[in-house]
Amino acid sequence: MRFLNALKSDIIFQFKHGFYAIYSVLTLFYVLILTYIPKEFSDIIAPLIIVSDPSLLGFFFIGGILMLEKTQGILDYLLVSPLHIFEYLLAKMTSLTLIALFSSLIIAYSSGLSFNPFVLTLIIIIISSFFTLLGFIVALQCETINQYFVKIIPSIILLIVPCMLLFVVNDLLIIKLIPSVASIYLILGVFQGIYLWEFLIYSTSLIIFIILCFSYIKKYIFKILYGGK
């Protein structure tokens, strides 16, 4: 199966480039924080750490991986192999989602909070899928690492600012539909409880954004990768 081989390649690639080492250190660091801070803080800190795992890390890691592959010319070679670009993309998403899941579950268990692991898993998959697709789109447009650091700025602003706005207004539905905010509410919900309709609204929003990303990639990827008019 080409997809499974692509997944295996990604895991080897990420391992050799030290991504797993970074993840392990971070996870350990978070676990230590959570064991030392008082219980009343971990109620809010644990979910925030957990939401950063599939989102922030997913976004930056896929960017880093794609840029590494681009600068090594790997992507050029994969384009002349039978591997389909969507098998390639799915393998990337799966590999990063697997690490995010692993790390989130460890952090969640060590926080001492109660939660439903199946719901958490489902939500992590959704969040991770969106952010890796977004990071993929951004990195796809860049040829050099410097370009990448410039081009991620708009996405970061668009995702972080609405989270900040939460401190000012927290009952505006439109803000809550923004992927970063929706992700925070979903993860908070895993630990503090959430109405079904809320869960459905947030996750539907994320899924719509996932579909948008996919259609963008489907439409433009060959144009971006191949060049020409």
């Binding site: 080409r2 081989n5 295996k8 050799k16 070679y77 002349v80 192999s81 144009k223 020409g228 008019k229």
Partner: protein
């Protein structure tokens, strides 16, 4: 194997075309070479045929079908070595080959044997980042033929290789031909074009002024010269004579009989001479 008709391409709508309506065909089992100076459009044409460029004009028939009608399955039968090696630098040679081989349905050729052949066996377990450029080029080359493709594209296959390793690669290319593979290579090295290719297309500024076999090119365009160096008034002087003419040349016979000869060379026109003669451009 490949038939290209009136192919044009520009990277940007606003810019002039870099390929300007070229025609050629590559037969099964031959080594076909694109010879031309830097910027002539060799890589561009090759990438268009491989399927890495969108929006070309004209037609590219490959293995019996228009290029745009093929899906990814075509890559099971095509091998590509780009002009700059693109490898997983944190992986070893073996890991690189095994990883890529896993995407193909065909069972890969004997990896260790191939590594031995290009003198990478000793370095097979070293990370590619520690490789020299020449080593990377050789690994890049064997990766292109690992899945036993029937049509092989090589972009400057011997660039940056020392003579010994260049010879190994050239020998392997000839072996591939004897196995019935079709090879399309680009080069601005006339020696490579001369010894390897059955057919050579001269390409300059996106056009192909001439296509023929190296032998015919030399017969048709090349002159064969004899250069004599001899002493005249205490100085070494030299004269050039057309090879066909020397029998009848009084001056040549006179020099032979009456002068102190230092050297006599016979010189054949190189493809480079012919290239300059036809295109008015140098290869490098």
């Amino acid at each position: 194997m490949i038939t290209v008709n009136n192919l044009s391409f520009s990277y940007n709508k606003k810019q002039p075309k870099v390929i300007k309506g070229i025609d050629f065909s590559v037969d099964k089992g031959e080594i076909f070479g694109f010879l031309g100076p830097s910027g002539a459009g060799k890589t561009t044409t090759q990438r268009a045929i491989i399927g890495l460029l969108r929006g070309y004009e004209g037609s590219i028939q490959i293995m019996g079908r228009e290029r745009s009608e093929w899906n990814n399955e075509i890559f099971e039968r095509i091998g590509v070595a780009f002009d700059s090696p693109n490898l997983y630098i944190k992986l070893t040679a073996i890991e690189n080959l095994e990883l890529m081989a896993s995407y193909y349905q065909t069972k890969p050729r004997d990896i260790l044997k191939l590594l031995k052949r290009v003198q990478l066996y000793e370095a097979k377990d070293k990370k590619v980042e520690s490789y020299s450029r020449g080593m990377k080029m050789r690994l890049n080359f064997i990766r292109a033929i690992l899945h036993n493709p029937t049509l092989i594209f090589l972009d400057e296959p011997t660039a940056g290789l020392d003579p010994v390793n260049a010879k190994i690669i050239k020998d392997m290319i000839v072996e591939l031909k004897h196995q019935g593979k079709t090879i399309f290579l680009t080069t601005h090295n006339m020696e490579v074009a001369d010894v390897l290719c059955d057919t050579i297309a001269f390409i300059v500024d996106g056009s192909i002024p001439l296509i023929d076999s190296p032998k015919n090119l030399k017969l048709t365009y090349g002159s064969h010269k004899v250069i004599v160096e001899f002493m005249e008034r205490q100085q070494i002087t030299s004269r050039e004579f057309d090879f066909q003419e020397i029998k009848h040349s009084k001056e040549f016979l006179d020099i032979l009989q009456n002068k102190e000869i230092k050297t006599i060379h016979s010189q054949e026109a190189t493809l480079e001479d012919i290239f300059i003669q036809i295109t008015g451009r140098e290869l490098s």
